[in-house]
Symmetry: C2
Subunit: 162 residues, 2 copies
């Protein structure tokens, strides 16, 4: 079965929280409180200016991403996205499908660039994937992320025009 | 009279909004909707995780800054600040007093670094002031800010350890 991507709905909360909980509790890739509760996590991922999408295969939710303006006003033409893949679905092209969809979605919405604000340097899989999709490391933030095992590691700002 | 800096209070709303309105309406230095209304502007500046301070001389409010964590979780040891100076008080050392206070405040709160996410490159006065206080341009975001007169200009990520 191929991957399909669609807008997230309230009915996705349970499946989405299962993925967010695994990723956020690990504390290795997102600058989010590892103890965040379900309501706050779903609120952050799906609400406000965030529009969330779901990746599924044969009805099983394997990942999610959101898209939103990264800044307001004079910065509103640059979007931001966040991506999570279910731990058991790693290596199956889920993140690749999401970034491809996100770039098209961003262009369709009229954004002119996409920016990731805090890519943890030790998350080499993500760094390489973004680079393969045209992102450059435009900023290096020394020891800006405290990794639960590795301690203080650098974070990157990654950016590409659309 | 010398400048004094203290925590912002609800009674400061009118004076603070006068400054925020001038700065935000101009749209030249902040990635904030230039049409933002008073309630939303004050909410953003003073509420949530933001703690706001007021600079005054002889009872007249001349500027304000806020301090907050720039990220959550593994990124919560890096703070972010925003600074506004009343247009009529430019060149009187207000911003310099605020950044000096902010660096001490950040250290007192246990932050290990300070980051500015979107310093508009054409705001050369600010860039020079931050550089004079130890900040480096750690990221360059090509055309990430749409200036009302100059059009698309670069934005900088500026960062320093504390």
């Amino acid at each position: 079965m191929s991957l399909t991507i669609r807008s997230a709905r309230a009915e996705d909360h349970a499946a989405l929280w299962a993925i967010l909980e695994a990723v956020f509790r690990a504390g290795e890739t997102y600058a989010i409180d590892p103890d965040i509760d379900r309501a706050a996590a779903l609120e952050w991922w799906m609400s406000g200016t965030h529009d969330a999408f779901i990746v599924e295969r044969d009805g099983t939710v394997l990942g999610s991403y959101y898209i939103c303006p990264n800044q307001q006003g004079g910065g509103a033409h640059v979007c931001n996205c966040g991506f999570v893949t279910a731990p058991e679905a790693q290596g199956q092209g889920v993140a690749r499908a999401m970034i491809t969809h996100a770039l098209a979605e961003a262009r369709a919405r009229g954004f002119l660039a996409m920016q990731f604000n805090c890519v943890v340097a030790s998350n080499t899989r993500a760094v390489r994937l973004w680079q393969a999709h045209g992102f450059e490391i435009t900023g290096r933030l020394p020891e800006a992320f405290r990794h639960p095992q590795a301690g203080f590691v650098d974070a990157y700002v990654m950016y590409r025009k659309l």
